[in-house]
Subunit: 332 residues, 2 copies
Amino acid sequence: MTNPVLVEVWRGPLVESTHRGAVAVADADGAVALAIGDVAKPVFPRSAIKALQALPLLESGAADRYGFGEAELALACASHSGEPAHVAGVAGVLAKAGLDPSALRCGAHYPISQAAAFALARGGGPSALHNNCSGKHAGFLCVACATGIALEDYWRPQHAVQREVRVVLEDFTGVVLTEERCAIDGCSVPTWAVPLQNLARGLAKFATGHGVSRERGQAAARLLRACAQQPWYVAGTGRCCTEVMQIFGARAYVKTGAEGVYAGALPELGLGIAIKCDDGAGRAAQAIMAAVIARFLPLADGEREALARFVRPVLTNWNGIEVGALRVTAAI
Amino acid sequence: MTNPVLVEVWRGPLVESTHRGAVAVADADGAVALAIGDVAKPVFPRSAIKALQALPLLESGAADRYGFGEAELALACASHSGEPAHVAGVAGVLAKAGLDPSALRCGAHYPISQAAAFALARGGGPSALHNNCSGKHAGFLCVACATGIALEDYWRPQHAVQREVRVVLEDFTGVVLTEERCAIDGCSVPTWAVPLQNLARGLAKFATGHGVSRERGQAAARLLRACAQQPWYVAGTGRCCTEVMQIFGARAYVKTGAEGVYAGALPELGLGIAIKCDDGAGRAAQAIMAAVIARFLPLADGEREALARFVRPVLTNWNGIEVGALRVTAAI
């Protein structure tokens, strides 16, 4: 099955590039509100399910034991930009568990934020704290600390923390996560391939608590609230995830993942959203997510206007001249 | 027509992303050696034809008048990384024509080279000299200077320099470049959409001199020689264009363009190559170019080995763990 073109990249009078992909929108019972393209094919959700990976942090009691607030919970769900307050926040999470950054095994990379990267380049370069996944990793470490499990190898599939994450993901997606679905993510933890339709249903369960235990539903609600209250901590300055949640608050939860994945939920409608661009293009996944929100969520004029720059981003060149635009196709 | 998948991005046991595209390989008479996908659809060649855009620099007599050597000619054909010697080289080109960098209208951006960008961030930030297109723009300015044309608006389609570039492109591609094919490139000069098959034939004419005037053929040969002799100036440290031309010298000319375009030539075989990834992915276009070279050019063992990291790039994560690879499909 060939997925349809979902985004066109226009330059002047012509389409310069195109992005194909698939979109699933479903409720917690699996009822499909929208299915475009192959929604049964397994895709790696990558960072788009960090909020699900963060559930053991609450369910283990670690978050309460260490007294984490909403910013700290949002960081556990984040692909942060490595701006100073992100980095300080993750260091604070580790400190509350009696750890220092040397425990992190996500690897180091320069911050997504150019300003933060340039500031660091003047010093000694990035540490694991600056890795966009450091909040998630700090959360894994806290789970191990709070429950008395060895920290070593906390990122490996066979470690108790990752086994617990796997159980959570199976519960939400309804997919048995066997070896042949497993690959290694950018930050070294396992990533499990699941069909988009299962991912969308999983996000709907996450956003509503339907179909999971009461305790799990409450933990999910607390993470959703944290992300809605502290969206800057989920991504960073100028980033799509942050700005969309700033526009909509608790009405829209969205989270990007590598290789053109986007996941989200519209809690008031009981819907989960899962998007994958075939070619891994983040620019297209972002426009599709914005268009899906605009399609389903009743929007006030101000909200529609604020969302427009994500639905139809204008392309400008190095002189600031408008040279084209991304356009979501009629398929959505 | 749906173009075939040309590159798969594997992660662990599964294909995570795919890239579709089209490839044309042709000789100077237009005889097709390879045609994959829709090679008749117009595509913007972007920076992949900078060497053709540089021809007026030689044909106008400007290059001789100002005494440009091979590094300076290579810079006119370059999407350089903004490393110190690139920047100094472009400043030198301008100085020989009695100009300073304030004449450039390509816009400023941080260098492609991370090291160069970080070094600049410590100072006052980038200038137009650091723009990857500054060598091409310096060449345009030199043409205007040497022929006594006003410099102002040298980047606009109606300026005499751009009109001359357009005539050259029409000569090589055999396409009449009318308004509806024209858009604005990242550096503000016009980019004209032409079918891949015409682009491939144009590159073959460029590499052989067949089908163009003797003078034009000689100018093309001189630019090709400059790029083969000074490939570092065409891109920069670690870049694919530079490394491929370092491997093959005059046997392979390759030049990347934005949005998944790659152009090239295999002069000894009389062939031109034109590649476009539908989705604009540079990572895929690069792998396809390497695979096309491997398909057509007789390779010594050392050459095959040196090319392998471009044909089948391994993907590693932030911890240096191998997590996947790009694989060019059997379509090529």
